[in-house]
């Protein structure tokens, strides 16, 4: 099958939805293609958002409403396997001819099993930040045996800033997510003890530093500077973790009931395939390069292909959505010539 449109937006996460809305509102024809059967991207997995504890579903709902009013044509359950600046091919074989493409294909989560020393997938009570969000959704935090954990360790930077797994970049949102999650645990289980193991606290956004202080002062969350080196299973599903407290320069061994790994953002493999087919440039991290970091952040090295959201680097929701607006404007300008 062959379809025709002005702009194809690839990826129906927050960035993709917003870009499609803007394009249609400006009167141009556009198709939004999403691999999953639902729109929303990663946000569907999050419970409440930093730094305001806004419910993630509120944000999605708002965006979907806007989408409905803009009459965007959506193709769900359709994976894009090939792009050029004038064509998108879907896994089904359908081809969409167009005059511009906005890539909003986002990021992948780092597979915590690769850091096998932490025992994810091997030990009972080692979970990831994504699993924890799922627990927040259900309203209970519990170990595999069903008990509420009394002592929880949260490890930052799993699969970020780690040369050993060839992920040199910072995933940006994990630090603040860890602070947010620590507070949520303390809210639900006030008697529990929570220890965050970090390398640096990167509290870059508005209200983040304040939240970090609140976590310490109001919720008594402990922050230890040092990476956990390994975990081992103890009887009754408890875990022993080894780390170094680099502020006191002492090795440290601790037993906890649950270990939460803050998994980072990884560039999807498909970026390399897209780059190969179109000549898009990639960063060493595997994310797609913008044409210019300051003035043309949503343009790429290929005219007619635009980018929005985390396809170029780890970003927050707000940043991804703002970029979507910019990308749709740039695409419009491009097709109007």
């Amino acid at each position: 099958m062959i379809m025709q449109t002005d702009v194809v937006v690839v990826g129906g996460g927050v960035a993709g939805i917003k870009a499609a809305c803007e394009l249609c509102q400006a009167g141009s024809k556009c198709v939004l293609v999403e691999r999953d059967s639902v729109l929303g991207g990663k946000l569907r997995g999050w419970h409440k958002l930093f730094p305001s504890f806004t419910s993630s579903s509120d944000v999605i709902e708002e965006l979907l409403n806007e989408l409905k009013q803009s009459n965007v044509e959506c193709l769900l359950g359709s994976e894009v396997v090939y792009i050029s600046s004038t064509l998108c091919r879907l896994a089904s074989g359908t081809e969409i001819q167009c005059r511009a493409v906005i890539l909003a294909t986002g990021y992948n989560l780092f597979d915590a099993r690769i850091k096998e020393e932490y025992g994810y997938g091997i030990y009972d009570n080692v979970i990831t930040s994504v699993d924890l969000e799922r627990m927040f959704h259900t309203g209970t935090i519990s170990t595999l045996s069903g008990a509420a954990p009394e002592k929880v360790a949260i490890l930052h930077c799993v699969g970020s800033r780690d040369e050993k797994v060839c992920q040199r970049h910072c995933s940006k949102v994990c630090c603040i997510t860890a602070v947010k999650q620590a507070i949520e645990i303390k809210k639900m289980l006030p008697n529990s003890e929570v220890f965050n193991f970090y390398m640096d606290m990167r509290m870059f956004g508005p209200g983040y530093e304040e939240l970090y202080l609140t976590a310490q002062k109001q919720y008594n969350v402990h922050f230890i500077r040092g990476r956990i080196s390994e975990a081992a299973q103890l009887p009754k599903g408890r875990l022993q973790i080894k780390a170094e407290d680099t502020l006191t320069a002492r090795p440290l061994i601790m037993s906890v009931d649950m270990l939460v790994l803050m998994v980072g953002m990884k560039a999807p493999k498909q970026n390399a395939l897209f780059a190969l087919a179109t000549g898009l440039e990639l960063q060493p991290s595997g994310f797609i390069s913008s044409k210019d970091l300051f003035l043309e952040a949503v343009l790429t090295s290929v005219p007619g292909i635009f980018v929005a959201g985390t396809v170029t680097a780890p970003k927050t929701i707000g940043e991804s959505i703002s970029e979507a607006t910019m990308a749709s404007r740039a695409a419009l300008k491009f097709i109007e010539g």
Binding site: I114, E116, E117, G119, I122, Y123, E163, K164, V165, C166, E230, A232, Q233, K242, I253, P284
Partner: protein, 595 residues
């Protein structure tokens, strides 16, 4: 006959100089040998080893059989130069005896025999003339190949040829001229006086027919002068160039057969190994740092070269995976990895009395049994392997003393690899005492790095040390565990430390074949590739390691296997980062198939 001609002086001076320097060098090296090595020499000198060495010297210093096995043209090049030259000397000696009987002939009389003999000889033995020309032709063909090798090494069977230092280039230039000049000198002599074999004789006739005799007579002395100068020049530079290997390989073969070896502590014997390197460059092609990453100037040939000339940099010494692939192919059999380790030790060893005082009295072991299990730090970072071993021990009904389940002192090899030999020895001592205290009779480890240091450096008398693949193979054979084979194919990746390091190749394969289908890739066993994750390289970064790993995975999967099996936690970790396919340690495969 009167042996007086000024043109021989360059040769005489060069030869005398070379002789003095070489003798002086060897004398110093022998004097500096440690007591144990002297003992070994005394023991070996009147044994069969000496006889065997003579054979080996003939085979390797003259015929170069090992280089032949590597590449025919390269072998021929080395053989023709060495054997050809050697035969020229031997036949030349016989020639003088045949013609002159037992009268005294000075050395240069032998070398320039044609010059002195041609005017006065009346009868000729054609067979001698033939042999001399024949061997000269052989040598010339070798020189020709050496020229070709400089222009295109591929034509002689290697991809890369060594980059040489100044003394090498000078010596080499003189050497290249020696034999063509000999040909010319003897030809001109033959053209004037007659004689010579099928080569010099026929060429001489040709010269005589076409060139005026006046010209030939005026060319005679300049050619012999040039020949003498090129010989003398070569001899002058020889002791300082790679050609020192020509002589040094001989004492090396003897010493090695008398069981002398380099150790972690640098010693005088090392000099024999270092200067026996011919800089043939065979080790360069073998090195994955070269092949995959394009890193030059760090391979064993360069390491030995830089060390010999005291220009070794830490970055060169440390840029090596210690995979042992070069050692495997080195035709001289130099212990390249040990030499690098002892060098690292000089550059990095930090003596510290207090550094590991906290070892005193710590013992975090648990369980009880005659069999001890030392998982090793790497295995602790790949807990699936550790859990699998625990399951296997349980299935076999083994009582096990777990040496390091709650933490331990490192086996010492990582520090040894980085050159911190003294610190490593402290750990070795601690662990030896720990093992003895718990009275184990068998020690099983999952890590080939630990396994190698246990077998090479530990004194564990009365304790059998096994890698877990060996242990599993033995309990499978005795029927203490049984497996239900799966319909799945594995290609086995030989870990460097287990394979080339400890010679364990068969047990891992035996175990895999009992659990699934075993497949092989072409570079396996002694020729296996290094996964790239080696603890010994302190220079390349993780991205470069990953690049090596990807190339290894690619090669392994050429076998057509569905999955990759290995027997080292570090290989397993490194390779799994480079592929989506399952990479499993043999212990994991076995624990999944236990019945």
């Amino acid at each position: 006959m009167i042996y007086l001609a000024p043109f021989t002086y360059p040769f005489i001076i060069g030869a005398a100089f070379m002789f003095l320097i070489v003798v002086w060098k060897y004398a110093m090296w022998f004097i500096d040998l440690p007591k144990e090595d002297v003992q070994k020499i005394k023991k070996g000198i009147f044994s069969k080893a000496t006889l065997y060495s003579v054979w080996e010297i003939f085979r390797e210093s003259l015929l170069h059989v090992r280089i032949f096995k590597r590449s025919l043209p390269l072998g021929y090049m080395h053989c023709s130069l060495a054997l050809g030259w050697f035969m020229l000397i031997v036949v030349g000696w016989i020639e003088t005896i045949v013609y002159l009987g037992n009268s005294f002939v000075p050395l240069y009389g032998h070398v320039f025999f044609r010059f002195f003999a041609a005017p006065v000889l009346t009868e000729h033995f054609w067979i001698l003339d033939f042999l001399m020309d024949f061997f000269l032709l052989i040598v010339l063909s070798g020189v020709f190949l050496a020229w070709i090798k400089r222009f295109s090494s591929r034509l002689v069977g290697i991809r890369r040829t060594t980059k040489h230092v100044l003394t090498d280039r000078l010596a080499m230039s003189f050497l290249w001229f020696v034999f063509p000049l000999r040909l010319l000198s003897e030809t001109v002599t033959a053209s004037i006086y007659g004689g010579g074999g099928f080569l010099t004789g026929s060429l001489g006739e040709l010269f005589a027919a076409f060139l005026p005799s006046q010209l030939l007579s005026s060319l005679l002395m300049p050619f012999w002068w040039c020949y003498s100068i090129s010989l003398g020049g070569f001899f002058c530079f020889m002791p300082f160039s790679r050609y020192m290997h020509i002589f040094t390989e001989i004492p090396l073969i003897l010493l090695r057969n008398w069981t002398l070896r380099p150790t972690l502590d640098e010693k005088s014997y090392d000099k024999f190994e270092i200067q026996a390197c011919s800089r043939c460059g065979i080790c360069i092609d073998e090195c994955q740092l070269q092949k995959v990453l394009g890193i030059e100037n760090v391979q064993s040939v360069y390491f030995l070269r830089d060390k010999r000339y005291h220009m070794l940099r830490l970055a060169t010494a440390q840029n090596c995976l210690m995979c042992g692939r070069c050692q495997q192919v080195c035709p001289v059999g130099i212990n390249l990895n040990t030499l690098r380790l002892s060098t690292r030790a000089i550059m990095r060893n930090i003596p510290s009395e207090q550094r590991y005082n906290y070892f005193n009295g710590i013992d975090r072991s648990c369980g009880e049994g005659r069999v001890g299990y030392f998982a090793g730090c790497m295995t602790h970072l790949t807990p699936k392997i550790k859990i699998s071993m625990e399951k296997i021990f349980k299935a076999a009904g083994e009582d096990v003393w777990y040496a390091d389940s709650e933490g331990s002192v490192c086996c010492g090899r990582p520090l040894m690899l980085s050159g911190e030999t003294d610190a490593a020895r402290k750990m070795i001592k601690f662990n030896e005492e720990l093992f003895r205290k718990h009275k184990i009779t068998t020690l099983v480890t999952s890590c080939p790095i630990c396994f190698r240091v246990f077998t090479e450096q530990y004194n564990l008398e009365g304790i059998t040390v096994l890698h877990h693949t060996q242990y599993i193979a033995s309990i499978l054979r005795s029927g203490r565990i049984a497996l239900s084979p799966e319909e799945c194919s594995y290609v086995y990746h030989d870990p460097c430390e287990l394979g080339r390091g400890c010679g364990v190749y068969d047990e891992p394969r035996e175990v895999i074949s009992r659990a699934a289908n075993l497949m092989e890739c072409s570079q396996n066993r002694e020729h296996a590739l290094c996964c790239g994750g080696s603890l010994s390289n302190f220079v390349i970064d993780d991205f470069q390691q990953q690049k090596i790993a990807s190339s290894v995975v690619e090669h392994l999967l050429l076998s057509g296997a569905e999955r990759i099996a290995t027997a080292c936690p570090l290989c397993r970790k490194t390779l799994s980062r480079a592929t989506e396919r399952r990479v499993m340690d043999i212990a994991e495969i076995v624990s999944e198939r236990l019945t």
